[in-house]
Amino acid sequence: MRRLTRSPALRVSGRRLLTAIPVLWGVTALSFLVMNALPGDAASAILGLDATKAEIRAFSVKLHLNEPIWTRYWHWFAGVVTGNLGTSLSSPQSVASVLGARLPVTLELVIYAMIITLVVSIPVSILCARWPRGVIDRLSLVLSMGSISIAAPSLALLAVIVFAVKWAIFPAIGYVGLSQSLAGNLHTMTLPSIVLAVPLIGFYIRFLRADLLEQMQAEDYIVTARAKGVTEWRILIRHALRNSFIGLLTIVGLNLATLIGVTVIVESVFSLPGVGFELLDAISNRNIPVIEGIVLVFGIAVVLANLVTDLLYGALDPRIRHVRSRS
């Protein structure tokens, strides 16, 4: 109760949200700028090559494509602030409804992948740190080196060759919605999520193992715990892992931006109707409102993830928690 009334976390999140706003604005401005440098305009891209000049002109006027860039940006930006992301150029749907349909797929993919990553990498790194230079340690070091060095398309296609073509455990393409059937959904989402998770697993094992080992070999509080007579397992899990989580959290936050980039490839290989798939489509159609909407959502996701990371920091690291409550 007392903690709530003081709630430094609330104040911190407020401050973080304020600094996030210019970042988000920068993201939209940057992407608008880049999109407008694209050669070829949306009108000819959507209407096709045989459209007449008059048709293209009418289309452009209808969608304000003939207005100067800052006017359009201002229109769009004003819309965003009021919650209106505009209308897709290729279909009568609003950008918000396009995103509403696509976002759950990508979100599920990212969350599923993150769960797989943590479930695999944390126990493996503990085993590595328990017996450094042992069989598990050496093996996982080799595998993790491979997993961080493999390109996403290669990995996705290898997974397809092995699990879809050779053994036919999972389908190569296709998507079953979560609302349709949970089993069907997991059946279609597991392989893409594993593909998304593999490089992260390698990365996290390398980080966690190094961090745990460094603590176990160098930190005085580990020696204190040993001198108490605490078992090695307990030292690893209760003392060292706890401290490693702080560093791990930063990485999870930072990884989210890269992870979203990789979803584009994974969704493309497995034909999942997610945001990345839509993005590729929108880019080739010059469907600027949709691209803008997607970029905004990605930007918000990353900024929010960083915000949550910061707040969790406080929960995990008492030093930060108290420094903040004092300031």
């Binding site: 005085d220 509080y221 204190t224 715990a225 001198a227 108490k228 605490v230 209760r238």
Partner: protein
């Protein structure tokens, strides 16, 4: 008859059986550049209720000896010789047996209170953990014992302190918590490894007083490890001076300060500033550096820095011998023992 026995016999009768007997302890670290002989044949005995000081500069092997006694040396260390606790051999014990011994038989207070507590755990939890890993207690009992320990180390408001994190405490308070952890299971021997070095002088005195008081209360033996001969002079009953992995002088505190024998001990003593000294006068420094422990010279390891060095010092290493009752030194040309000329 009385004449032959008087040196040892009264001693034997007065002294109870030793808690800890270390004989010919040798610790070697294998490194890429060769073996480093950190401890080269240390013998010492710790009796109940006694306070022993192990003195030496950094690299003299005092901390490594203490870590060997605790059984917390890193895996790269090779240990030989014998460490017996109440007659049971510690060297060569498995990890599981060592765990039962650590904390319960011998406990340790570390040098740096900034770093020897886990920053992400409540101090109470860290003490309760020490209680819980040796005694079959419930969570509540462990908590109560932890609060009691916090009270024992004289932390104000122990109930509240239990829930605080290390960073919320001052250095002295943190060191009290470390002491509470060490005392959690009533160890028979408490090792204080430079326990006051990182603290300011007033806190230093408070912590030393606390350690001695607690020693009185619990009846444990105290092995204090320090580079500070002055500290040893104030608090220890017996002083052991180490240099380059070997004991070079051992004597009861009073007798040692009445007349130092080993030139190295004298050099350490000279380096302590005294109130009666002229201001702005440079303190004498022990010239040179401690020897490389990877290469063992044939002679005395202090010879290169010793002001009294002679040819025999270079050739053969003086053994540590009992020259007077209770007084041991390893020197061919001890101070105060010049041959009459």
């Amino acid at each position: 008859m009385a004449a032959t026995a008087d040196a040892a016999a009264p001693d034997l009768q007065l002294r109870p059986s030793p808690l800890l007997e270390v004989s010919d302890l040798r610790v070697t670290f294998g490194t890429r550049l060769g073996s480093v002989h950190a401890v080269q044949g240390v013998n010492l005995t710790i009796e109940p209720r006694r306070t022993l000081a192990l003195i030496g500069e950094s690299g003299s092997g005092k901390t490594v000896s203490a870590q060997a006694i605790m059984g917390i040396l890193p895996r790269t260390a090779r240990v030989s010789g014998s460490i017996k606790f109440k007659g049971d051999e510690i060297v060569g014990r498995g990890e599981r047996e060592l765990r039962d011994y650590r904390g319960r038989c011998v406990a340790m207070v570390f040098q740096n209170p900034e770093r020897s507590l886990n920053p992400t755990m409540r101090v109470g939890t860290q003490i309760a953990e020490a209680v819980g890993c040796h005694l079959p207690v419930s969570k509540q009992e462990a908590h109560d014992r932890a609060v009691e320990l916090l009270r024992m180390v004289r932390l104000p408001a122990p109930e509240r302190r239990f829930y605080e994190y290390p960073h919320q405490l001052s250095g002295g308070m943190r060191q009290r918590v470390v002491i509470a952890i060490a005392l959690a299971c009533d160890p028979a021997v408490l090792i204080a490894d430079e326990a006051t070095t990182a603290l300011d002088v007033t806190t230093q005195a408070q912590i030393m007083e606390l350690l001695l008081d607690l020693q009185q209360e619990t009846g444990s033996a105290l092995l204090m490890i320090s580079h500070d001969l002055g500290l040893a002079a104030s608090y220890a009953e017996e002083v052991i001076v180490m240099y380059a992995g070997k004991i070079v002088e051992q004597a009861p505190t009073k007798e040692l300060f009445a007349g130092v024998r080993m030139p190295y001990t004298q050099a350490l003593l000279d380096a302590i500033p005294r109130i009666e000294m002229e201001p702005h006068v440079l303190l004498p420094v022990v010239g040179g550096r401690p020897p490389d422990l990877a290469v063992i010279p044939p002679g005395c390891s202090f010879a290169p820095r010793c002001p009294r060095v002679q040819q025999d010092c270079q050739d053969t290493c003086p053994p540590l011998q009992q020259h007077e009752p209770g007084r041991w030194w390893a020197c061919w040309h001890p101070l105060g023992k010049e041959p009459a000329q």
